[in-house]
Symmetry: C2
Subunit: 433 residues, 2 copies
C-alpha cells in the first residue's frame, strides 16, 4: 500500500516509477490482500491520500467508527468515544484500499506495475534491484536512479543495509500473538453488533476486538500471550476453545458461527516491532513504511504512519534539490517519529487490553477530556494527538508522558472530571505555564 | 577464542569436535589475530580457562594491571586501584591466547581444526553448515549433531536465526569510534610508562587508553565521537592530528614516536552492541560469545563474558541429558546476563572517559570502597562484582543500580569516605536490612 501511494505521489510530481509487487495483481486474481483484513484509517493517512486526490474516495469503502464499544465479561457494554463529536476513525478493507491505490498509480501514466515479482537482492551502491518472476522463475535485474524500499517488515533492502557500518536495527516480538476470526453478516440486517464502533472485549493481558466490514461482517482478532495459563498454547482441543470463548466472550459467541472453522483455518501469528536508523543509503536507497518501522497494531497507526512517511517525504522532495542531502535530512528528522509510534503502539496493548477497564485509568482519561474542554489549545489528549492531529509522533509521545505526570498529580490531590471547572482550572494552570 | 575454548572444553568431556576458523592458522602464518591487539583477562575468563587447565599458563603471557593510571590534561597523574590489595586484571595478547587455546584443543586428540574456512551458510533444522575453502574456492557442506556458533558479532548462524519467528535481535552502534595507536618499547628499559597499570587519559566524551604488551610496547586506543567539534571527522590533516594530541595528550606524545604512521595505517572502526534472544535453535544450534552478545570494550568483559558462556554451558551439559532442554534452559537463564553486560559496558564509556575525573563520581566511589570495608559481605563495589566475582551480570547490574541510589542519598546527607566509621555504619545499616 505504501509503495502504491508513493508511486502515485512521485508520478504526480512527474517522475517515472516502476512498481514491483510480490503477489499477483489483486484486481485480477481472487486472493487475500494480506493477513489483516481490515485496518483503521485515520487523519494522518487521509492527509497523505488527499495529495493524490483519494481522500474522498475512501468514504465509499470505509465504515466510520466513532467509539470504542466495550464488552465486559458479564456481557455489559459501554461506549467510549474516540474524540470530540464528529471525530472518528475508519474501518477499511486492506484489499479495497490496495486496489484503489494501484488504479490511481496506474492512471497517472507514469507508473508501470509488475506483479508476482518478489525482490531477491539490492545492490545498494548502484541502486540495482533483482526480482524473481514467479511465473517463469527468471531473475530480472534492473538499475535505477533511486530505489524506495516499501517491502514491509521483512524488507530485503533493509536486510542489506543492516550489514553496512553504523546501521542501527532492532526486531522485537511481544509475548502475545494474534488469530483472526469472524462474525458473519446477519441475514437482512447485516451487522450483528453496532456497526459504527470498534468493539473491544478487554480481559487484562488478552483481548478480543472486532472491526466492521462493508459486507456486514466483522473481522475479529484475538490477541493473547503464546504461553501461560491463558495462552494460545493452552487451547489445544475444540472443547478448550469453546470453553474459553464461553467464559470470556460469552456475548460474542452467539455471533461467531464459524468460530471453530476460523480457529483451525487461520494461523496464530506473532507481532513484531522493527526499528532501524538511518532509513537511507547515500542518495540511492530509502526505506518507507513497515520496511523502516514495523509496529504492533494496537494504536491503529501502522498504515497511517507509512502513509505519513510518503506525505512528509513529498514535502522534502519539493524543498531539496540534492537527493543525498534530502534522504539524509528526511531520515534524520523522521526516524525519531518512527521510534516514537513503535513505543506508543506497544504501550497501547496494555491500555486497550487492560487499562480501558481499569478505574484509575478511566478516571485520568475523563479528567484529561475535561481539561481538554477547558484548555483546548494547550491540552489535547494523547489519543487525539496521535489519531486526529499531525503533531509529530515523537512530540505526542513526550507530551503524553508530561500529561500523564500532571494527571497523576491532580488525581492524587482528589481532582476528578466531577470537580468544578474552577477547581480544575486552578489546579491545572500552574502546569501549563 | 571462544570457539577454541569451547572445543577444548567439549573435547575434555569426550565429544568429537570439528573447529572451523575463517583465517589461516595463526601459529603458522604471520598475520594479525584481529583488530584489538591486547585484551583484559579477568576472573570470569580465568575460571573458564581453569576447566581446561589453562589458568596457570596465562601468567607467562599476561601482564598484571593493578590500577587505572590517570593522566590529566596538565600531565598530572594519579592511581586508582581496581580492587583490593592483590586484585588485578591482566593485559594479554589476543594472538598468544588464541595460539595457546588452539594448542590445547588440538592436544586433546578429539578436536580437528580447519583453517581458511569461513562459514557461508547454516541450515538450522539439520545442523548442516557450509564453509568456503579460501585456498581453492570450494564450498564444503557438512552435517553435524549440533552446531555451536562462535563466529563473532557478524555471525552467519545468528543471521539465519534472525529470520525465524519470534527471534529478538538488536544491533546498535555508539556514536564514538576507535583507532589503535602504539607506544614502542624504550631501548633497554622497555615500557615507557608504568607497566602494571591500565593508562587512561579521560577527556570528557573522548579518551586515550594504553595497555602494556609483553614486548615492552603499549597498545593505545583513542575512543572519540565520529562527528562533532572533537571528532574523527574533524582531524583531517597531519597538523590537525599533531595539534590535537599536543593539546589533549601532551604527556603521551613524547612516547608515541609512530603516531602519524599509526594514524594513517590503522582504520577508524565503529563500536557495535549486539543483543539477541533466544541463543539456541531447537536442539541443533547454539550461539556463544560475540555471536550471541557483542559488547563495547569499556568494561574489559567482551572476552570474559564469552569465556564465561563456555564455563556455564559446561555445567549445563553435565546437568542435562536432553540437548534441546539444555539449550533452552541455558539460553533462557544466561541471556539476561548477556543483555546486562552489554548495558554495563555502554555505561562504562561515560565512567572511564568522564566520570573518573568527575569529583561527584570520585566521592561516591571512595565512599563505596569504605562501605565495602565496613560491610565486606553485603557491599561489593560494582566494578568488583563484574571483574573479580562470578555474580551473574544481571544481578551485578541491579545491585549496582541499588548501590548508586544509596550512595546518592548518603552523599546528599553529607556522608563521605572521610566520615567516621560509626557515622557511615549508622547511615548505611537501614539500607542493608
Amino acid at each position: 500500500m505504501v509503495g502504491s501511494l508513493l508511486a502515485a505521489t512521485l508520478a504526480k510530481k512527474g517522475f517515472n516509477v516502476d512498481l514491483y509487487e510480490r503477489r499477483p495483481d489483486l484486481r485480477r486474481a481472487d486472493i487475500a490482500a494480506g493477513r489483516s483484513i481490515n485496518l483503521a484509517l485515520s487523519d494522518r493517512g487521509l492527509k497523505a491520500l488527499s495529495r493524490i486526490g483519494s481522500d474522498e474516495a475512501m468514504h465509499s469503502i470505509a465504515i466510520p467508527m466513532h467509539s470504542r464499544f466495550l464488552h465486559d465479561v458479564e456481557g455489559n457494554t459501554s461506549l467510549m468515544p474516540y474524540g470530540k463529536e464528529g471525530q472518528y476513525i475508519n474501518s477499511i478493507s486492506r484489499g479495497d484500499l490496495n486496489k484503489h491505490l494501484m488504479d490511481v498509480a496506474e492512471a497517472t501514466g507514469n507508473v508501470k506495475l509488475y506483479f508476482n515479482m518478489p525482490c531477491t537482492d539490492v545492490d545498494l551502491d548502484t541502486a540495482t534491484v533483482s526480482f524473481k518472476n514467479k511465473d517463469n522463475g527468471e531473475v530480472v535485474t534492473k538499475q535505477y536512479d533511486r530505489v524506495f524500499g516499501t517491502d514491509g517488515a521483512f524488507s530485503v533492502g533493509r536486510n542489506k543495509m543492516m550489514r553496512t557500518d553504523r546501521f542501527n536495527y532492532s526486531q522485537y516480538y511481544i509475548s502475545s500473538g494474534y488469530k483472526e476470526l469472524s462474525m458473519p453478516p446477519v441475514p437482512d440486517t447485516k451487522w450483528a453488533i453496532d456497526k459504527n464502533s470498534l468493539h473491544i472485549w478487554p480481559r487484562g493481558n488478552f483481548m478480543l476486538i472486532a472491526l466492521p466490514n462493508m459486507d456486514g461482517s466483522f473481522t475479529c482478532t484475538l490477541f493473547m500471550p503464546f504461553e501461560g495459563e491463558v495462552g494460545f498454547d493452552n487451547l489445544k482441543t475444540d472443547e478448550d476453545v469453546i470453553k474459553f470463548f464461553n467464559i470470556y466472550f460469552k456475548d460474542a459467541v452467539p455471533h461467531m458461527s464459524t468460530l471453530l472453522d476460523d480457529w483451525h483455518n487461520n494461523a496464530t501469528s506473532s507481532l513484531i516491532t522493527v526499528k532501524s536508523d538511518p532509513w537511507h543509503y547515500k542518495d540511492k536507497v530509502l526505506l518507507l513504511g513497515d520496511a523502516a518501522h514495523a509496529i504492533v497494531p494496537f494504536y491503529g497507526q501502522g498504515m497511517n504512519a507509512g502513509f505519513e512517511d510518503v506525505d512528509i517525504l513529498s514535502d522534502y522532495i519539493d524543498k531539496y534539490s540534492d537527493w543525498g542531502d534530502m534522504f539524509k535530512a528526511y531520515s534524520t528528522e523522521r526516524a525519531p517519529d518512527g521510534h516514537a509510534i513503535a513505543e506508543l503502539a506497544i504501550r497501547n496493548y496494555r491500555e486497550m487490553s487492560d487499562l480501558v477497564a481499569d478505574p484509575h485509568f478511566v478516571k485520568k482519561r475523563a479528567l484529561s477530556g475535561k481539561i481538554n474542554e477547558l484548555f483546548p489549545d494547550q491540552w489535547l489528549p494523547l489519543y487525539s494527538m496521535v489519531t486526529f492531529s499531525h503533531i509529530r509522533y515523537s512530540e505526542a509521545l513526550s507530551k503524553g508522558d508530561w500529561q500523564n505526570d500532571v494527571l497523576e498529580q491532580l488525581v492524587a490531590k482528589g481532582i476528578s472530571a466531577d470537580s468544578s471547572s474552577d477547581e480544575i482550572k486552578t489546579a491545572v494552570l500552574p502546569h501549563l505555564s
